[in-house]
């Protein structure tokens, strides 16, 4: 059995709670027939404030509305819900995905019929740039850093040796893999 740190466990539980709270509110909006919208603090330079006392860069009060019903934003809206579902799933299953993992987990085709009833398809996202951007959106939307969502962006150490690790339903045999197996 892999070691699960107590801190990680508490962080996970907190993340799950924030997810539930935020998305319950969104679901309520939808079920009440109001337009589905994410309200997200803007991540632009103009909306960045320097906190002198704490010597930190903070986000300002400007917000952006990502509305599903806006043709220009509907794809991004879909991507945001997709990323949210994947991260939530990882939290629940005690996983530590990298951003590349998240990109691959989310990438699949959406099949639909166009106005002439022909079958068409598109990818949920094309490049990792798109999924990375959605991760950053979710961080500010939830008010949680990616570390608090147990997402790894770079390697923090290596686990090597004659060891088997269970991650969710997956069993990883480290002796059979290179050092990149468990970053």
């Amino acid at each position: 059995m892999a070691y699960i740190s107590g801190i990680d466990k508490r962080v996970r539980e907190r993340g799950i709670e924030v997810f539930k709270k935020k998305f319950q509110r969104l679901a309520k909006r939808i079920l009440e027939g109001r337009p589905p919208t994410f309200i997200i603090p803007k991540r632009t330079l103009s909306n960045t404030i320097y906190d002198e006392r704490r010597r930190l860069l903070l986000l300002g009060p400007e917000i952006l509305r990502r509305s599903f019903l806006d043709v220009n934003e509907s794809r991004k809206f879909m991507q945001t819900t997709l990323m949210a579902a994947i991260i939530y799933d990882a939290l629940v299953n005690n996983e530590y995905p990298t951003i590349r993992d998240l990109y691959y987990r989310g990438k699949h085709t959406i099949v639909y019929r166009d106005e002439k009833s022909r079958l068409r398809s598109e990818y949920t996202w094309d490049e990792q740039r798109e999924s990375d951007s959605v991760i950053r959106d979710l961080e500010v939307y939830l008010g949680l850093l990616r570390e608090e969502l147990l997402i790894l962006s770079k390697e923090k150490g290596k686990v090597v040796g004659n060891m088997k690790i269970r991650s969710g339903d997956d069993v990883i045999d480290l002796s059979r893999m290179g050092h990149g197996a468990m970053l």
Partner: protein, 624 residues
Amino acid sequence: MIAETLTPEKFRALSPAQFFAKYREIAGFSNPTRALYQTVRELVENALDATDSHGILPNIKIVIRRSPENPSHYTITVEDNGIGIPPQHVPNAFGRVLFSSKYVLRQTRGMFGLGVKAAIIYGQMTTGNPVEIITSTMGSKRIYYFKLRIDLKKNEPVILERGSWRKIRDWHGTIASITIEGDWSRAKRNVIEYIRRTAVVTPYANIVFVSPDGEIIYYKRTITKVPIPPKIVKPHPHGIDLELLKEMIKHNSEKTIKDFLINSFHGIGYKTVDELLQLIKINNNKKVDSLTENEIKKLANILRGIDREVILQFKDSGKYKTLLKMLQEVFPWLSKEKIIQAIEYVNKILVNKINKGQLERLNSKFDPTKLKLEHIDALVRALKKYYPRIRPPSPSALSPLGEEIIIEGLKRVYEPEFVTAVTRKPLSYQGHPFIIEVGIAYGGKILTSDKPVLVRFANRIPLIYDESSDVAWKVVKPKKDEKEKRGKEGFDWKAYGIEFPAPLIVFTHICSTKIPFKGVGKESVADVPEIENELKLALREVARRLRIYILKKKKEEEKRRRITVLARYVPEIARNLSIILRDIMGTDGIEPLLREKLIEAIAVRTGIDKMKIMKTIENVGVET
């Protein structure tokens, strides 16, 4: 005259039949290809005249058979359900050139009374075969059969066989068969195009065509309304010439001039006749046979009225040194003072209209050969003040198709997504009434092409050859570049939302008691300004309607595109949210509920039916 004195050549008279045998290209029989097309055309047009002109819904069957003995000989058989021909008239109707029931002033398909006979003569000369006719009139108890040829020298029918039998079923109509030398492989395209276009103007007719190769084309009747047959009308004074006037006087010698004018012409009433006769100083009660040659000339002159053509005819004769002299000759019933007044009036309007560099003052000494079109049009307007008002030519002699028939016809042949048509009000050119009809068909099964496809008709006859020289093409063809934009020719399709290549068919129909054909082939219409202008106005009207349709369609497409952009993400979003929410809300029932609500949100925003939105994600699975 001169020829007689200079050469010893002997002159011999040609019978009308011999004339057409010799100059067959005049009637459209210049080669086997054209002859095959022309024969089909003549027989079909006779068949239609025997049916729709009499209010009968036509059933027409056209069969072309290749002769088993000689592959370049073809038998063309056309059957109709028309009024039939009384047996005593059959020999003359098919065997004597220039014998026709159509020599009256009304719009008919044929006009010369020689078409079908030219085909018979051509067949006789190339294959030696006689024409065969089976016919029965509506009331008749018998069906009659004839086999005859034309004696070219005597211009007389020669009956080779005749017979009759009792009618068993209630049939009336005519079946005519002519065997000619033809070239099906070359004529095919135009024959089929001719039949297709005939089908456009006759949606009320069943038309069956069987080709020599056994192909069958069938146009099924889609409407049971037959256009109102044209009436016979009196000639309009503006359309008269000296010869015709003399002829009319000969047949009315008993009458006084006043009665003659009122009874023989359209558009002249009691008031007008007094004004006219006062102008040419002829006593109202004078008998027409006592009119002097000079008086008849004056009468012919004043009846022709005032228009551009009248002046144009005289302008370049070289006989006239001054404008005054010319106008006095053209309008002898106007006093010198009145003509000078008119010229001065023209000067006044030209000063206001033409810039200084172009300014040319007219005066009574002005050389008439230097008259420009704008001078002439202004003069016509000025002189008309001194002319009694004659009602315009009667359109009752005309038989326009009407918007409904054009629309139905275009629909049944081309199956477009949009179609519209307009019938303009009757007008006249040179004393001949005419009506312009224009239709437009767009999209659907119409093939896309670089130019609009023009289908032309004159008095309900399709015109296939010589398109580029026809006035209709001049109006319909797209304007090419900026330079041409300022020019008069062509149509600015871009301004109406059409960019070529586009799937577009333009239909034009000119009906008139006299179609101004170019040349004798009767395949293209000359550019008469009045006709050109009406075509332009009619085309603009239908093109405007098309533009409205196209704009509306684009808007709707945009809306539908918007819906698919939104709706395609619904299943994905519903699934994602349910992954997070099912732990709170308990069951999996949340996913379909979210789907439903998201689609509802799209429906509320776009105003489009939920069922239509659902089509985007119909039978589409969600990947996990």
